[in-house]
């Protein structure tokens, strides 16, 4: 353990449909790793509307100093036009500002960075020292090992690369802070929140993904049945999303979600580099494809050359 003077880290807490997101616990997992190199004092910032419950959850993150809470109309929907100038100011007191590399973090962190005249390190998958990080480039075809001497380090964390910390019982202090001033350049209109009974894609222990080979949206029922047997989440290739079989939030890959479950079952998808970028760190990969030469077999631990419309029902049967 490092005993040098403590430095501050601020975590920008993501609020999901049901409050405190799991991703925040992964960000804490990354900070635990960072803590092996520098002694940290961590604050969690919760900015939103009606988010006291999320703040109470945040307060149960072990080892933190405090939760900063801005519960206010102005923070509703976390618009970056409102939050970024304010956070750029708050961030001055910290050595690290961290957020998950989700659409929330990707939207917000670069705007804060520009206002602070800083270059963030995004999609961090490994922490090598207090100022050295690794991030994937070229759809994960390579890992860039980077160093930065910037006095404030802005990091976005890939959930798939870090373990999550468990919430404890004791509770850190929740300190109310003044919310940001309002702005008039952007306005929230509406949100279509996806409701699913199944586990969240990036948090699931098992993921079943379908591609163009599924042929139609209704055929995804097969995968849902399989998923329900396995307690799995369901993902898709870009081709399946583009064809309108399933909604965009199911896309796994370079430009979609990155997952690293214990078991990934790829069904009727070819395994393009862009898709592999989103699942190559899964522990066990299964591919079901009727083309024996499909590239997905090179990334699979277990490959089954078969027609999915025969193999998947049989698989459901045997489980």
């Amino acid at each position: 353990m490092n005993t040098s003077k403590k430095v501050g880290a601020l975590v920008l807490v993501e609020l999901g449909a049901s409050g405190f997101s799991l991703i925040n616990l992964k960000v804490m997992g990354a900070l635990a790793r960072l803590g092996e190199f520098t002694s940290l004092e961590v604050d969690l910032l919760v900015a939103g509307k009606d988010c006291a419950a999320a703040a109470a959850m945040a307060a149960r993150v072990p080892g933190i100093r405090q939760v900063l809470l801005a519960d206010d109309d102005r923070c509703e929907h976390q618009l970056p036009e409102t939050l970024a100038p304010w956070l750029a100011h708050l961030a001055q007191d910290y050595a690290y500002v961290c957020v998950g590399a989700t659409t929330f973090g990707k939207n917000l962190l670069p705007r804060i960075a520009a206002l602070m005249d800083l270059q963030p390190v995004t999609d961090v998958v490994a922490i090598e020292s207090a100022n050295e990080f690794k991030r994937p480039v070229y759809a994960g075809s390579a890992l860039a090992h980077l160093r930065t001497e910037q006095s404030i380090k802005l990091l976005s964390i890939r959930a798939s690369a870090f373990g999550e910390v468990a919430l404890g019982e004791s509770s850190a202090e929740v300190v109310a802070i003044t919310p940001p001033p309002s702005q008039t350049i952007s306005r929230f209109i509406s949100q279509q929140q996806v409701q699913s009974e199944r586990p969240e894609l990036t948090a699931a222990r098992v993921v079943v993904s379908g591609g163009r080979g599924m042929q139609a949206g209704e055929n995804f029922q097969l995968l849902y049945q399989l998923a329900d047997k396995l307690g799995a989440a369901v993902g898709a290739s870009r081709a399946a999303v583009d064809a309108g079989f399933v909604p965009n939030d199911m896309q796994v890959g370079q430009t979609g979600k990155v997952v690293a479950p214990e078991l990934y079952i790829a069904v009727g998808l070819s395994g393009a580099v862009q898709h592999l970028a989103g699942m190559r760190d899964s522990r066990v990969v299964v591919a079901i494809n009727k083309d024996a030469d499909a590239p997905i077999f090179q990334a699979a631990d277990y490959g089954l050359v078969a027609d999915l419309f025969e193999a998947v029902p049989e698989l459901i049967e045997l489980l």
């Binding site: 520009a114 001497e149 952007s186 430009t255 066990v284």
Partner: protein, 249 residues
């Protein structure tokens, strides 16, 4: 309404790239190059807005070596009106690119700036958000639908948990996602015509910006390779392997 579109030259998405053995970079010296796919979508959207009479002029800009003019010419062939090439031999970080674009926004005063959500080489997904911050403009990121409504642009954003619609006051910065549109191909006559369209070259130094890199690359290495797997002959064998060998069921 004037639209500024930022486009980047990248390795063609169909090319499989690898890091150099010495860790100094990627082995791309002879790779086929292309316009970043997200930038193609941005150009297409700008042209559609012009065709609908909602935009008056489409200006495309790229920052990089001489060769980025290939992609600028493609954008002109697709229907952009004029091009700006900011010349530099350096690979700039997103913050630096955003600063250059900010300088151009001040000069050109576009109402809408379109960028790709992500360049497929660096996979940063930062430049649009940074530019919006520097300009003090609203931002619509990862956008799959755009609608102009008076002095606002309404954008639908692809989020991890669904779709979100925002109203942004113009001038605004919008970054494109894959589902925004399906880009067209240039026609032969338009490729010929594009040669006559204005392409202005501006040396980066003329913009008088300070753009020191903030990150040092120590090395670029291949990720850990996956172990070679096996083929199973039946669903029953697969289930057995998953239970007995992989122990994931």
């Amino acid at each position: 309404m004037k639209i500024l579109v930022a486009i980047k030259r990248v390795v063609d998405p169909g090319v499989r790239v690898r890091p150099l053995a010495d860790g100094s970079g990627m082995d791309i010296a002879s790779a086929k190059m292309a316009m970043n796919p997200f930038c193609e979508i941005a150009v297409e959207e700008a042209i559609r807005l012009k065709e609908q009479g909602l935009a008056s002029e489409v200006v495309v800009v790229s920052i990089g070596q001489q060769t980025v003019q290939d992609q600028l010419r493609s954008a002109l062939a697709l229907g952009a009106d004029r091009a700006l090439h900011i010349t530099t031999e350096s690979i700039l970080e997103p913050l630096a690119i955003a600063k250059v674009l900010h300088a151009l926004v001040q000069k050109e005063q576009p109402q809408l700036v379109l960028l790709g959500k992500q360049s497929i080489d660096g996979d940063h997904n930062q430049t649009g958000q940074m530019l919006a911050g520097l300009c003090g403009y609203p931002q619509g990121t990862f956008v799959s639908h755009i609608e102009c409504k008076g002095d606002e642009v309404w954008v639908t954003r692809e989020l991890d948990g669904g779709l979100q619609t925002l109203a942004l006051k113009l001038p605004a910065v919008v970054t494109t996602d894959l589902r925004l549109n399906q880009p067209r191909y240039p026609t032969m006559p338009n490729i010929m015509k594009a040669r006559q369209k204005p392409l202005v070259v501006i040396p980066l130094a003329e913009l008088g910006l300070s753009l020191q890199p903030r990150l040092q690359t120590i090395s670029i290495d291949a990720p850990k390779a996956r172990q070679q797997g096996i083929k199973v002959n039946s669903v029953a064998e697969l289930v057995d392997k998953l239970r007995q060998e992989a122990k994931v069921l």
